[in-house]
Amino acid sequence: MQNLLELKGISRTVSDRFSLRDVTLAVEPGQIVGFVGANGAGKTTAIRAALGLIKLDAGEVHLFGQRCGADAPDESQRHLRSRVGLVLDTCPFPSTLKVGQIEALVGPAYPTWDRETFAGFINRFGLDPKTKVKDLSRGMGMKLQLACALSHNAKLLVLDEATAGLDPMAREELLDELLAFVADGQRSVLLSSHITSDLDRAADRVICIDNGSIVFDLPREDITDRAGIAHCTRAQAAELMACVDGARVAHHAYSVDVLVPNRREALEAFPEIPCDRVTIDDYLRLTLKGASK
Protein backbone atom coordinates (compact mmCIF):
# COMPACT_ATOMS: atom_id res chain seq x y z
CA MET A 1 0.00 0.00 0.00
CA GLN A 2 0.98 3.59 -0.59
CA ASN A 3 2.89 5.31 2.20
CA LEU A 4 1.04 8.25 3.71
CA LEU A 5 4.24 10.15 4.42
CA GLU A 6 7.70 9.65 3.01
CA LEU A 7 10.85 11.64 3.56
CA LYS A 8 13.48 10.67 1.00
CA GLY A 9 17.01 11.72 1.90
CA ILE A 10 16.10 15.19 3.07
CA SER A 11 18.89 17.51 4.15
CA ARG A 12 18.83 21.03 5.42
CA THR A 13 21.47 23.13 7.14
CA VAL A 14 19.69 25.00 9.92
CA SER A 15 22.68 26.62 11.63
CA ASP A 16 26.44 26.20 11.97
CA ARG A 17 25.85 23.63 14.70
CA PHE A 18 22.85 21.72 13.41
CA SER A 19 21.62 20.27 10.16
CA LEU A 20 19.27 17.54 9.01
CA ARG A 21 21.36 14.99 7.12
CA ASP A 22 19.90 12.55 4.65
CA VAL A 23 16.76 11.82 6.69
CA THR A 24 14.68 9.01 5.23
CA LEU A 25 11.54 7.66 6.84
CA ALA A 26 8.15 6.33 5.84
CA VAL A 27 4.76 6.12 7.53
CA GLU A 28 2.65 3.26 6.23
CA PRO A 29 -1.15 3.08 6.49
CA GLY A 30 -2.50 1.68 9.75
CA GLN A 31 0.69 2.39 11.68
CA ILE A 32 1.55 4.48 14.69
CA VAL A 33 5.15 5.49 14.11
CA GLY A 34 7.09 6.72 17.12
CA PHE A 35 9.68 9.37 16.34
CA VAL A 36 12.16 9.59 19.18
CA GLY A 37 15.36 11.38 20.00
CA ALA A 38 16.94 13.68 22.54
CA ASN A 39 16.02 17.36 22.82
CA GLY A 40 17.47 19.17 19.81
CA ALA A 41 18.03 15.93 17.88
CA GLY A 42 15.99 17.18 14.92
CA LYS A 43 12.49 15.73 15.45
CA THR A 44 10.65 19.03 15.13
CA THR A 45 12.84 20.16 12.23
CA ALA A 46 12.10 16.92 10.37
CA ILE A 47 8.37 17.41 11.01
CA ARG A 48 8.59 21.02 9.83
CA ALA A 49 10.25 19.75 6.66
CA ALA A 50 7.52 17.13 6.21
CA LEU A 51 4.85 19.81 6.52
CA GLY A 52 6.57 22.15 4.06
CA LEU A 53 7.41 24.80 6.64
CA ILE A 54 11.10 24.91 5.75
CA LYS A 55 12.92 24.74 2.45
CA LEU A 56 15.17 21.76 1.83
CA ASP A 57 18.73 21.71 0.56
CA ALA A 58 18.22 18.19 -0.82
CA GLY A 59 15.72 15.36 -0.79
CA GLU A 60 12.00 15.01 -1.32
CA VAL A 61 8.85 14.95 0.78
CA HIS A 62 5.94 12.82 -0.40
CA LEU A 63 2.51 13.06 1.19
CA PHE A 64 -0.05 10.44 0.13
CA GLY A 65 2.22 9.48 -2.74
CA GLN A 66 2.47 12.97 -4.18
CA ARG A 67 5.42 15.28 -3.98
CA CYS A 68 4.83 17.96 -1.38
CA GLY A 69 6.97 20.38 0.61
CA ALA A 70 7.69 24.10 0.60
CA ASP A 71 8.27 24.22 -3.18
CA ALA A 72 5.14 22.28 -4.19
CA PRO A 73 2.48 24.07 -6.26
CA ASP A 74 -0.17 25.91 -4.22
CA GLU A 75 -3.01 23.66 -5.34
CA SER A 76 -1.26 20.44 -4.37
CA GLN A 77 -0.26 21.92 -0.98
CA ARG A 78 -3.90 22.82 -0.30
CA HIS A 79 -5.12 19.41 -1.37
CA LEU A 80 -2.54 17.34 0.50
CA ARG A 81 -2.54 19.35 3.71
CA SER A 82 -6.30 19.07 3.99
CA ARG A 83 -5.75 15.37 4.82
CA VAL A 84 -3.23 16.01 7.60
CA GLY A 85 -4.05 16.77 11.23
CA LEU A 86 -1.46 18.36 13.49
CA VAL A 87 -1.09 18.45 17.27
CA LEU A 88 1.76 20.47 18.76
CA ASP A 89 3.28 20.50 22.24
CA THR A 90 1.67 23.84 23.10
CA CYS A 91 -1.77 25.05 22.07
CA PRO A 92 -1.09 27.19 18.97
CA PHE A 93 -4.31 29.20 18.88
CA PRO A 94 -4.37 32.92 19.75
CA SER A 95 -4.71 33.07 23.53
CA THR A 96 -7.55 35.59 23.71
CA LEU A 97 -9.88 33.50 21.56
CA LYS A 98 -12.48 31.28 23.18
CA VAL A 99 -12.75 27.55 22.56
CA GLY A 100 -16.00 28.10 20.67
CA GLN A 101 -14.30 30.60 18.34
CA ILE A 102 -11.54 28.21 17.31
CA GLU A 103 -13.89 26.44 14.93
CA ALA A 104 -14.38 29.69 12.98
CA LEU A 105 -10.59 30.03 12.82
CA VAL A 106 -9.63 26.51 11.74
CA GLY A 107 -12.83 25.12 10.23
CA PRO A 108 -12.93 27.28 7.08
CA ALA A 109 -9.50 25.92 6.11
CA TYR A 110 -10.82 22.40 5.53
CA PRO A 111 -13.32 21.52 2.80
CA THR A 112 -14.16 18.36 4.76
CA TRP A 113 -14.65 20.05 8.14
CA ASP A 114 -17.48 18.45 10.11
CA ARG A 115 -19.11 20.76 12.65
CA GLU A 116 -20.96 17.95 14.39
CA THR A 117 -17.80 15.91 14.84
CA PHE A 118 -16.03 18.94 16.31
CA ALA A 119 -18.92 19.68 18.65
CA GLY A 120 -18.93 16.00 19.65
CA PHE A 121 -15.23 16.05 20.54
CA ILE A 122 -15.57 19.34 22.45
CA ASN A 123 -18.36 17.75 24.43
CA ARG A 124 -16.56 14.46 24.98
CA PHE A 125 -13.31 16.11 26.03
CA GLY A 126 -15.19 18.32 28.53
CA LEU A 127 -14.06 21.58 26.90
CA ASP A 128 -16.17 24.65 27.74
CA PRO A 129 -16.77 26.70 24.54
CA LYS A 130 -16.68 29.88 26.64
CA THR A 131 -13.20 29.27 28.07
CA LYS A 132 -10.39 31.34 26.62
CA VAL A 133 -7.42 29.49 25.14
CA LYS A 134 -5.06 31.17 27.63
CA ASP A 135 -7.08 29.66 30.51
CA LEU A 136 -6.85 26.08 29.22
CA SER A 137 -4.57 23.65 31.00
CA ARG A 138 -1.89 21.92 28.95
CA GLY A 139 -4.01 18.78 28.68
CA MET A 140 -7.10 20.71 27.64
CA GLY A 141 -5.08 22.64 25.05
CA MET A 142 -3.87 19.36 23.60
CA LYS A 143 -7.45 18.03 23.51
CA LEU A 144 -8.62 21.17 21.69
CA GLN A 145 -5.93 20.61 19.06
CA LEU A 146 -6.86 16.96 18.83
CA ALA A 147 -10.53 17.90 18.33
CA CYS A 148 -9.46 20.15 15.42
CA ALA A 149 -7.16 17.49 13.98
CA LEU A 150 -9.89 14.81 14.08
CA SER A 151 -12.78 16.92 12.75
CA HIS A 152 -11.84 17.03 9.08
CA ASN A 153 -11.43 13.38 8.23
CA ALA A 154 -7.62 13.48 8.33
CA LYS A 155 -5.73 10.47 7.02
CA LEU A 156 -2.47 11.29 8.76
CA LEU A 157 -2.04 12.68 12.25
CA VAL A 158 1.25 14.32 13.16
CA LEU A 159 1.87 14.86 16.85
CA ASP A 160 4.96 16.83 17.81
CA GLU A 161 5.75 16.23 21.50
CA ALA A 162 2.02 16.30 22.16
CA THR A 163 2.30 14.12 25.26
CA ALA A 164 5.01 16.23 26.90
CA GLY A 165 3.79 17.65 30.20
CA LEU A 166 0.59 15.61 30.28
CA ASP A 167 -0.39 13.62 33.34
CA PRO A 168 -0.60 9.80 32.95
CA MET A 169 -4.41 9.82 32.65
CA ALA A 170 -4.38 12.43 29.88
CA ARG A 171 -1.62 10.51 28.07
CA GLU A 172 -3.65 7.33 28.37
CA GLU A 173 -6.71 9.07 26.88
CA LEU A 174 -4.63 10.42 24.01
CA LEU A 175 -3.14 7.02 23.23
CA ASP A 176 -6.63 5.48 23.23
CA GLU A 177 -7.72 8.10 20.69
CA LEU A 178 -4.70 7.35 18.52
CA LEU A 179 -5.28 3.60 18.63
CA ALA A 180 -8.92 4.14 17.64
CA PHE A 181 -7.79 6.47 14.84
CA VAL A 182 -5.58 3.87 13.14
CA ALA A 183 -7.91 0.94 13.83
CA ASP A 184 -9.36 0.92 10.29
CA GLY A 185 -5.90 0.30 8.82
CA GLN A 186 -6.17 3.24 6.41
CA ARG A 187 -4.94 6.04 8.62
CA SER A 188 -1.64 6.63 10.38
CA VAL A 189 0.00 8.58 13.14
CA LEU A 190 3.50 10.03 13.36
CA LEU A 191 4.09 10.56 17.06
CA SER A 192 7.18 12.49 18.03
CA SER A 193 7.97 12.10 21.70
CA HIS A 194 10.74 11.65 24.18
CA ILE A 195 8.37 9.91 26.61
CA THR A 196 9.09 6.49 25.22
CA SER A 197 6.77 4.61 27.59
CA ASP A 198 3.90 5.90 25.40
CA LEU A 199 5.50 4.21 22.43
CA ASP A 200 6.01 0.93 24.31
CA ARG A 201 2.25 0.71 24.40
CA ALA A 202 1.10 2.16 21.11
CA ALA A 203 3.81 2.32 18.43
CA ASP A 204 4.14 -0.11 15.53
CA ARG A 205 7.51 1.27 14.46
CA VAL A 206 10.10 3.35 16.25
CA ILE A 207 12.37 5.75 14.40
CA CYS A 208 15.22 7.41 16.25
CA ILE A 209 16.94 10.59 15.17
CA ASP A 210 20.12 11.97 16.67
CA ASN A 211 22.07 15.05 15.66
CA GLY A 212 19.99 15.38 12.50
CA SER A 213 20.45 11.81 11.22
CA ILE A 214 18.28 8.70 11.53
CA VAL A 215 19.95 6.25 13.91
CA PHE A 216 17.50 3.36 13.69
CA ASP A 217 14.11 2.57 12.17
CA LEU A 218 12.72 -0.66 13.62
CA PRO A 219 9.43 -2.45 14.25
CA ARG A 220 8.57 -1.94 17.92
CA GLU A 221 8.66 -5.72 18.55
CA ASP A 222 12.32 -5.83 17.49
CA ILE A 223 13.04 -3.57 20.43
CA THR A 224 10.60 -4.62 23.15
CA ASP A 225 10.31 -8.38 22.36
CA ARG A 226 13.45 -9.36 20.45
CA ALA A 227 16.25 -7.25 21.85
CA GLY A 228 17.57 -7.67 25.37
CA ILE A 229 19.72 -6.02 27.96
CA ALA A 230 22.36 -8.17 29.61
CA HIS A 231 23.58 -7.20 33.08
CA CYS A 232 27.07 -8.55 33.46
CA THR A 233 30.59 -8.11 34.72
CA ARG A 234 33.32 -6.43 32.71
CA ALA A 235 34.78 -9.78 31.68
CA GLN A 236 31.40 -11.13 30.61
CA ALA A 237 30.70 -7.91 28.73
CA ALA A 238 33.95 -8.21 26.82
CA GLU A 239 33.07 -11.77 25.88
CA LEU A 240 29.53 -10.79 24.81
CA MET A 241 30.78 -7.86 22.76
CA ALA A 242 33.26 -10.12 20.98
CA CYS A 243 30.59 -12.69 20.05
CA VAL A 244 27.42 -10.68 19.36
CA ASP A 245 27.10 -8.51 16.29
CA GLY A 246 25.44 -5.14 16.86
CA ALA A 247 25.83 -5.24 20.65
CA ARG A 248 26.38 -1.98 22.49
CA VAL A 249 27.82 -1.54 25.93
CA ALA A 250 27.39 0.98 28.72
CA HIS A 251 29.64 0.89 31.77
CA HIS A 252 28.30 1.75 35.23
CA ALA A 253 30.09 2.00 38.57
CA TYR A 254 29.40 -1.59 39.64
CA SER A 255 28.06 -3.31 36.53
CA VAL A 256 27.99 -3.27 32.77
CA ASP A 257 24.88 -3.22 30.57
CA VAL A 258 25.08 -4.78 27.14
CA LEU A 259 22.34 -4.30 24.57
CA VAL A 260 21.94 -7.38 22.39
CA PRO A 261 19.77 -7.46 19.28
CA ASN A 262 18.42 -10.97 20.05
CA ARG A 263 17.73 -11.80 23.68
CA ARG A 264 16.97 -15.51 23.11
CA GLU A 265 20.18 -16.13 21.18
CA ALA A 266 22.17 -14.33 23.85
CA LEU A 267 20.53 -16.41 26.60
CA GLU A 268 21.25 -19.62 24.73
CA ALA A 269 24.88 -18.71 24.12
CA PHE A 270 25.47 -17.26 27.60
CA PRO A 271 22.99 -18.90 30.02
CA GLU A 272 24.92 -17.60 33.02
CA ILE A 273 24.32 -13.95 32.05
CA PRO A 274 20.88 -12.56 33.00
CA CYS A 275 19.28 -10.91 30.00
CA ASP A 276 16.06 -8.89 30.48
CA ARG A 277 13.60 -7.48 28.02
CA VAL A 278 14.50 -3.99 26.93
CA THR A 279 12.32 -0.88 26.99
CA ILE A 280 12.48 1.69 24.22
CA ASP A 281 14.08 4.00 26.77
CA ASP A 282 16.92 1.53 27.43
CA TYR A 283 17.32 0.80 23.74
CA LEU A 284 17.53 4.51 22.97
CA ARG A 285 19.98 5.17 25.82
CA LEU A 286 22.31 2.34 24.91
CA THR A 287 22.13 3.02 21.19
CA LEU A 288 22.90 6.69 21.58
CA LYS A 289 25.30 6.58 24.53
CA GLY A 290 26.65 3.04 24.46
CA ALA A 291 29.86 1.99 22.77
CA SER A 292 29.99 -0.54 19.96
CA LYS A 293 32.74 -3.08 19.31
Binding site: L53, K55, T90, P92, P94, T96, A109
Partner: protein, 232 residues
Protein backbone atom coordinates in the same frame (compact mmCIF):
# COMPACT_ATOMS: atom_id res chain seq x y z
CA UNK B 1 -8.05 32.46 -0.74
CA UNK B 2 -11.67 32.69 0.38
CA UNK B 3 -11.03 30.06 3.06
CA UNK B 4 -8.00 31.94 4.38
CA UNK B 5 -10.05 35.14 4.42
CA UNK B 6 -12.83 33.45 6.41
CA UNK B 7 -10.25 32.24 8.92
CA UNK B 8 -8.78 35.73 9.18
CA UNK B 9 -12.26 37.16 9.75
CA UNK B 10 -12.62 34.97 12.83
CA UNK B 11 -9.79 36.96 14.42
CA UNK B 12 -11.05 40.31 13.12
CA UNK B 13 -14.45 39.65 14.67
CA UNK B 14 -12.84 39.41 18.10
CA UNK B 15 -10.85 42.61 17.52
CA UNK B 16 -13.64 44.71 16.03
CA UNK B 17 -15.47 45.69 19.25
CA UNK B 18 -12.37 47.06 20.97
CA UNK B 19 -11.13 48.92 17.89
CA UNK B 20 -14.64 50.31 17.30
CA UNK B 21 -14.77 51.45 20.94
CA UNK B 22 -11.45 53.29 20.67
CA UNK B 23 -12.55 54.71 17.32
CA UNK B 24 -15.81 56.01 18.77
CA UNK B 25 -13.99 57.69 21.64
CA UNK B 26 -11.52 59.39 19.30
CA UNK B 27 -14.34 60.35 16.95
CA UNK B 28 -16.34 62.05 19.71
CA UNK B 29 -13.37 63.88 21.22
CA UNK B 30 -11.94 65.13 17.92
CA UNK B 31 -15.32 66.07 16.46
CA UNK B 32 -16.26 68.11 19.54
CA UNK B 33 -12.82 69.69 19.73
CA UNK B 34 -12.65 70.72 16.08
CA UNK B 35 -16.28 71.52 15.27
CA UNK B 36 -15.68 75.19 16.13
CA UNK B 37 -13.30 75.40 13.15
CA UNK B 38 -16.27 75.17 10.80
CA UNK B 39 -17.08 72.46 8.26
CA UNK B 40 -13.40 71.63 7.60
CA UNK B 41 -12.85 70.86 11.30
CA UNK B 42 -16.10 68.93 11.44
CA UNK B 43 -14.53 65.99 9.56
CA UNK B 44 -11.55 65.67 11.93
CA UNK B 45 -13.10 62.82 13.94
CA UNK B 46 -14.08 60.79 10.89
CA UNK B 47 -10.65 61.41 9.29
CA UNK B 48 -8.82 60.31 12.44
CA UNK B 49 -10.82 57.09 12.70
CA UNK B 50 -10.38 56.38 8.99
CA UNK B 51 -6.63 56.98 9.23
CA UNK B 52 -6.00 54.96 12.37
CA UNK B 53 -8.04 51.88 11.43
CA UNK B 54 -5.65 50.41 8.80
CA UNK B 55 -2.64 50.83 11.08
CA UNK B 56 -4.39 49.39 14.14
CA UNK B 57 -5.76 46.36 12.29
CA UNK B 58 -2.39 45.66 10.64
CA UNK B 59 -0.60 45.71 14.00
CA UNK B 60 -3.31 43.74 15.78
CA UNK B 61 -3.35 40.97 13.19
CA UNK B 62 0.45 40.80 13.19
CA UNK B 63 0.30 40.53 16.98
CA UNK B 64 -2.08 37.58 16.70
CA UNK B 65 0.33 35.87 14.30
CA UNK B 66 2.92 36.06 17.02
CA UNK B 67 0.75 34.47 19.71
CA UNK B 68 1.46 30.86 20.70
CA UNK B 69 3.01 30.00 17.33
CA UNK B 70 -0.28 30.59 15.50
CA UNK B 71 1.64 31.72 12.39
CA UNK B 72 3.43 28.37 12.15
CA UNK B 73 0.28 26.36 12.81
CA UNK B 74 -1.65 28.38 10.21
CA UNK B 75 1.05 27.57 7.67
CA UNK B 76 0.25 23.86 8.16
CA UNK B 77 -3.44 24.42 7.33
CA UNK B 78 -4.50 23.83 3.72
CA UNK B 79 -3.63 27.39 2.67
CA UNK B 80 -0.83 28.35 0.36
CA UNK B 81 1.44 31.16 1.53
CA UNK B 82 -0.07 33.33 -1.21
CA UNK B 83 -3.56 32.66 0.19
CA UNK B 84 -2.41 33.78 3.63
CA UNK B 85 -0.91 37.03 2.34
CA UNK B 86 -3.79 37.92 0.03
CA UNK B 87 -6.31 37.20 2.79
CA UNK B 88 -4.41 39.49 5.16
CA UNK B 89 -4.35 42.37 2.65
CA UNK B 90 -8.02 41.89 1.83
CA UNK B 91 -8.87 41.82 5.51
CA UNK B 92 -7.03 45.08 6.18
CA UNK B 93 -8.69 46.80 3.21
CA UNK B 94 -12.20 45.55 4.06
CA UNK B 95 -11.88 46.47 7.72
CA UNK B 96 -10.51 49.92 6.85
CA UNK B 97 -13.33 50.58 4.40
CA UNK B 98 -15.97 49.47 6.92
CA UNK B 99 -14.48 51.67 9.65
CA UNK B 100 -14.18 54.67 7.29
CA UNK B 101 -17.77 54.23 6.13
CA UNK B 102 -18.99 53.90 9.72
CA UNK B 103 -17.08 57.02 10.79
CA UNK B 104 -18.38 59.00 7.83
CA UNK B 105 -21.93 57.83 8.45
CA UNK B 106 -21.65 58.74 12.13
CA UNK B 107 -20.31 62.16 11.18
CA UNK B 108 -23.20 62.76 8.80
CA UNK B 109 -25.66 61.69 11.50
CA UNK B 110 -24.02 64.11 13.93
CA UNK B 111 -24.19 67.08 11.53
CA UNK B 112 -27.65 68.36 12.65
CA UNK B 113 -26.30 68.66 16.20
CA UNK B 114 -23.85 71.28 14.96
CA UNK B 115 -26.38 73.44 13.06
CA UNK B 116 -26.36 76.06 15.85
CA UNK B 117 -22.59 76.43 15.36
CA UNK B 118 -23.11 77.40 11.74
CA UNK B 119 -22.23 74.08 10.12
CA UNK B 120 -24.91 73.39 7.53
CA UNK B 121 -26.10 69.82 6.81
CA UNK B 122 -25.84 70.29 3.08
CA UNK B 123 -24.56 68.02 0.31
CA UNK B 124 -21.34 70.03 -0.01
CA UNK B 125 -20.45 69.39 3.66
CA UNK B 126 -21.35 65.72 3.41
CA UNK B 127 -19.28 65.37 0.23
CA UNK B 128 -16.30 67.03 1.87
CA UNK B 129 -16.52 64.80 4.95
CA UNK B 130 -16.74 61.68 2.76
CA UNK B 131 -13.85 62.83 0.59
CA UNK B 132 -11.63 63.74 3.54
CA UNK B 133 -12.43 60.46 5.27
CA UNK B 134 -11.71 58.40 2.16
CA UNK B 135 -8.46 60.28 1.50
CA UNK B 136 -7.35 59.74 5.11
CA UNK B 137 -8.06 56.03 4.86
CA UNK B 138 -6.26 55.70 1.52
CA UNK B 139 -3.16 57.57 2.71
CA UNK B 140 -3.06 55.44 5.85
CA UNK B 141 -3.52 52.30 3.76
CA UNK B 142 -0.58 53.34 1.61
CA UNK B 143 1.57 53.57 4.75
CA UNK B 144 0.37 50.13 5.76
CA UNK B 145 1.18 48.71 2.32
CA UNK B 146 4.67 50.19 2.57
CA UNK B 147 5.36 48.50 5.91
CA UNK B 148 3.48 45.21 5.56
CA UNK B 149 6.33 43.34 3.80
CA UNK B 150 8.54 44.18 6.80
CA UNK B 151 6.19 42.18 9.04
CA UNK B 152 6.56 39.12 6.83
CA UNK B 153 10.31 39.52 6.55
CA UNK B 154 11.28 40.35 10.13
CA UNK B 155 8.33 39.26 12.29
CA UNK B 156 6.09 41.43 14.45
CA UNK B 157 8.39 43.04 17.03
CA UNK B 158 11.26 43.90 14.70
CA UNK B 159 8.89 45.14 12.01
CA UNK B 160 7.04 47.29 14.55
CA UNK B 161 10.25 49.17 15.33
CA UNK B 162 11.14 49.50 11.66
CA UNK B 163 7.64 50.62 10.69
CA UNK B 164 7.70 53.37 13.32
CA UNK B 165 10.86 54.69 11.72
CA UNK B 166 9.28 54.43 8.30
CA UNK B 167 6.14 56.24 9.48
CA UNK B 168 8.28 59.01 10.98
CA UNK B 169 10.14 59.36 7.68
CA UNK B 170 6.83 59.38 5.82
CA UNK B 171 5.49 62.08 8.17
CA UNK B 172 8.59 64.25 7.76
CA UNK B 173 8.40 63.85 3.99
CA UNK B 174 4.74 64.86 3.96
CA UNK B 175 5.37 67.92 6.13
CA UNK B 176 8.26 68.98 3.92
CA UNK B 177 6.11 68.47 0.84
CA UNK B 178 3.27 70.54 2.24
CA UNK B 179 5.41 73.41 3.55
CA UNK B 180 4.55 76.73 1.97
CA UNK B 181 7.98 77.05 0.33
CA UNK B 182 7.51 73.80 -1.59
CA UNK B 183 6.23 74.10 -5.19
CA UNK B 184 4.23 70.84 -4.81
CA UNK B 185 2.35 72.37 -1.90
CA UNK B 186 1.69 75.53 -3.89
CA UNK B 187 0.44 73.48 -6.82
CA UNK B 188 -1.87 71.45 -4.56
CA UNK B 189 -3.25 74.62 -2.94
CA UNK B 190 -3.84 76.16 -6.35
CA UNK B 191 -6.07 73.29 -7.45
CA UNK B 192 -7.58 72.25 -4.10
CA UNK B 193 -7.34 75.33 -1.93
CA UNK B 194 -9.77 76.69 0.61
CA UNK B 195 -12.90 76.18 -1.51
CA UNK B 196 -12.08 73.37 -3.90
CA UNK B 197 -14.22 72.38 -6.80
CA UNK B 198 -15.92 68.99 -6.09
CA UNK B 199 -14.74 67.71 -9.46
CA UNK B 200 -11.13 68.49 -8.55
CA UNK B 201 -11.56 66.83 -5.16
CA UNK B 202 -13.04 63.75 -6.84
CA UNK B 203 -10.09 63.61 -9.23
CA UNK B 204 -7.63 63.93 -6.35
CA UNK B 205 -9.42 61.17 -4.46
CA UNK B 206 -9.42 58.93 -7.53
CA UNK B 207 -5.71 59.62 -7.99
CA UNK B 208 -4.96 58.62 -4.41
CA UNK B 209 -7.13 55.51 -4.81
CA UNK B 210 -5.24 54.46 -7.95
CA UNK B 211 -1.93 55.08 -6.20
CA UNK B 212 -3.08 53.05 -3.17
CA UNK B 213 -4.27 50.23 -5.40
CA UNK B 214 -0.96 50.09 -7.26
CA UNK B 215 0.94 50.15 -3.98
CA UNK B 216 -1.32 47.38 -2.65
CA UNK B 217 -0.55 45.17 -5.64
CA UNK B 218 3.21 45.79 -5.39
CA UNK B 219 3.26 45.31 -1.62
CA UNK B 220 1.20 42.11 -1.84
CA UNK B 221 3.57 40.70 -4.46
CA UNK B 222 6.64 41.58 -2.42
CA UNK B 223 5.10 40.14 0.78
CA UNK B 224 4.21 36.90 -1.00
CA UNK B 225 7.76 36.54 -2.34
CA UNK B 226 9.25 37.29 1.07
CA UNK B 227 6.88 34.93 2.87
CA UNK B 228 7.35 32.05 0.45
CA UNK B 229 11.07 31.80 1.16
CA UNK B 230 10.74 32.26 4.91
CA UNK B 231 11.15 29.27 7.21
CA UNK B 232 8.32 28.93 9.71
Amino acid sequence: MKRAFMSELAIVRTLAPSIAGVGLFIFVVLTLANATDGDSGMSAGACAVSAMSPIIIMNSLAGYDNQNGWERYRATLPFSRKDIICARYLCIVVFSVVMACAATFLNILALPLFDPMGIPSICQTIFEIATASAASMLISLMMVFLTQPLFYRFGHMEALRLSLGLFALFGCGTMAMLSSSNPISNWLMSIAGANPDPAVLSCLRAGIAVLALALCAISCTVSTKVYRVRDL
